[in-house]
């Protein structure tokens, strides 16, 4: 690809008009939570932006994150930005294989030292020296640390890279860990989701291309623009929650009437993501709109959060056996204490000396206490 080509001319070649680009930039600015005027400056900054070198590392993952980004409806808005970066290494998408692929990664690292972005999907196994996932004989851990060393910033794409995801779920056989636990001292942005919303990936990339830095992040390293609100707070079914109208099954009256899915295990209240706003499949709908509770996929440990179909408030363990066992143990101990009390009292009574107050001539007892 021609590295000198500006984004504007590249778009023109792709048949995307200037006005369409400006429209996209305006919407991008809105989705990033930037003020209205930022759309225009974003467009100008993107025009001037040099082609960004990107190294995409895939570790313990399912390729769903890449699919989310590349398989969106055509012509994709996401591809406008994604096509503008120089994707120097991505072992699913690149044509090169084997030695040539690894050479491409090393070349990019040398040529763009201190400037390239590292995008990671998948978690990294660290148990037993990281042998559970290797690429070209190199463990994922080694590859991550080696590639991160001269990176400008890292983007952990998807819940596995951001929080450990499925590979880290109990009992975590491979000792999987998220990027943030293994790489220190580099700017890191987490874009969790299973998969993440494509607009959030491209939004962050566009922000970086235009302004040369990462957008504002929350306490879990997620961009506030996309993860600032909970699914519950933006949910169109919220009024039903407030009215106490809940679906109790997937085919009951409540489900047909579109009532709140809280009792079916919806994790919307504790889940921060933009699904309710951005939606999926070209704005068609999102899981809750399709009648399925939110799984909470953009939050840490969502696989171990007590079951997808169990209400958020319900305990994650099995309380009934604990209660029965507790009652039994308590009752036996209490009974023992009660009988001990009885015995002590009986013993005290028995030990009490009999006082004889007097005896008449016939020998009959007069009184006895």
């Amino acid at each position: 690809m021609d590295k000198g080509m500006s984004l504007a001319s590249r778009l023109g070649e792709a048949g995307i008009s200037r006005r369409a680009f400006l429209k996209y930039c305006g919407m991008l600015a809105a989705s990033l939570g930037l003020p209205t005027a930022a759309g225009r400056t974003l467009a100008e900054a993107l025009d001037a932006a040099p082609r960004q070198s990107v190294i995409w590392l895939s570790f313990q993952e399912c390729t769903g994150c890449t699919e989310s980004l590349t398989r969106a409806h055509a012509p994709t808005l996401e591809s406008l930005i994604f096509d503008h970066v120089s994707l120097d290494y991505h072992h699913t998408l690149q044509a090169a294989a084997g030695e040539a692929a690894e050479r491409a990664r090393h070349e990019a690292m040398e040529r763009h030292a201190g400037e390239y972005l590292v995008l990671v999907d998948g978690s990294i196994p660290v148990r037993d020296g990281g042998v559970y996932s290797t690429i070209a004989g190199v463990t994922n851990l080694q590859m991550l640390q080696e590639t991160a060393r001269d990176a400008a910033a890292l983007v952990a794409i998807g819940s596995c890279a951001a929080f450990g995801g499925l590979p880290m779920a109990d009992p975590n056989p491979t000792g999987a860990a998220p990027v943030g636990d293994l790489v220190r001292g580099k700017p890191l942005i987490n874009l969790p989701g299973c998969p993440p919303i494509p607009a959030s990936i491209t939004g962050v990339l566009a922000h970086y291309l235009a302004y040369g830095r990462l957008p504002e992040l929350d306490h879990l390293g997620r961009p506030k623009a996309f993860f600032g609100e909970s699914i519950h707070d933006r949910c169109y079914r919220r009024p039903f929650y407030d009215q106490g109208l809940f679906a109790r099954g997937f085919d009951d009256e409540g489900a047909r009437k579109g009532w709140c899915l809280y009792l079916l295990g919806c994790k919307g209240p504790t889940t921060h993501n933009a699904c309710a706003v951005t939606k999926w499949n070209d704005g068609t709908s999102f899981p809750i709109e399709a009648g399925h509770p939110c799984l909470g996929c953009s939050e840490p440990r969502f696989w171990d959060a007590g079951g997808f179909y169990r209400a958020l408030s319900a305990p994650t363990g099995e309380p009934a056996p604990v209660a029965v066992a507790g009652l039994a143990v308590g009752a036996v101990a209490g009974a023992a204490a009660g009988f001990r009390h009885r015995r002590t009292r009986a013993a005290a009574n028995a030990a009490r000396p009999t006082v004889e107050l007097g005896r008449d001539a016939t020998g009959n007892e007069e009184e006895r206490s």
Partner: protein, 133 residues
């Protein structure tokens, strides 16, 4: 313009925001865009807002990355901008408070290419042999 009857507090709050933006436009010539996409408005509230703002004189349609429709409201300076198709998923309907919606303006960068294409057209017609009488 109709008064918002039984309008919810959300609709009223939005109308207040539009008023502030319109004052800013009138006094400082500063435009504002209010994105309604992230706001959890119910369909009824949305209709109430549409009814409150009314219909203006101008309607326009853009065919760029899906269609975008631009409608003037009964309040001069307040425009509905709604996106359909693939753009609809990134941004919801917007209320643009401006003299004209920014998207309708011809991008300055495209003027040169317009000029070039007209030049090409005219050059081609000059090169064509003039028909004999």
């Amino acid at each position: 313009m109709n008064r918002p009857e039984n309008a919810s507090s959300a609709v009223e709050a939005l109308l207040c925001e539009v008023r502030v933006a319109l004052r800013r436009l009138a006094e400082a010539a500063e435009p504002t865009t209010i994105d309604l996409g992230p706001l959890p408005l119910s369909p009824a509230e949305f209709t109430a807002l549409e009814r409150a703002l009314g219909e203006g004189e101008v309607t326009a349609r853009l065919d760029a990355l899906g269609t975008t429709s631009v409608r003037e409201t009964a309040v001069p300076g307040v425009w509905w901008v709604t996106h359909d198709g693939c753009a609809g998923r990134v941004a919801g309907p917007q209320l643009e408070v401006a003299r004209w919606p920014a998207l309708l303006e011809t991008p300055a960068e495209t003027l040169r290419s317009g000029l070039a294409s007209l030049d090409a057209l005219l050059d081609a017609s000059q090169e064509r042999p003039t028909p004999m009488n």
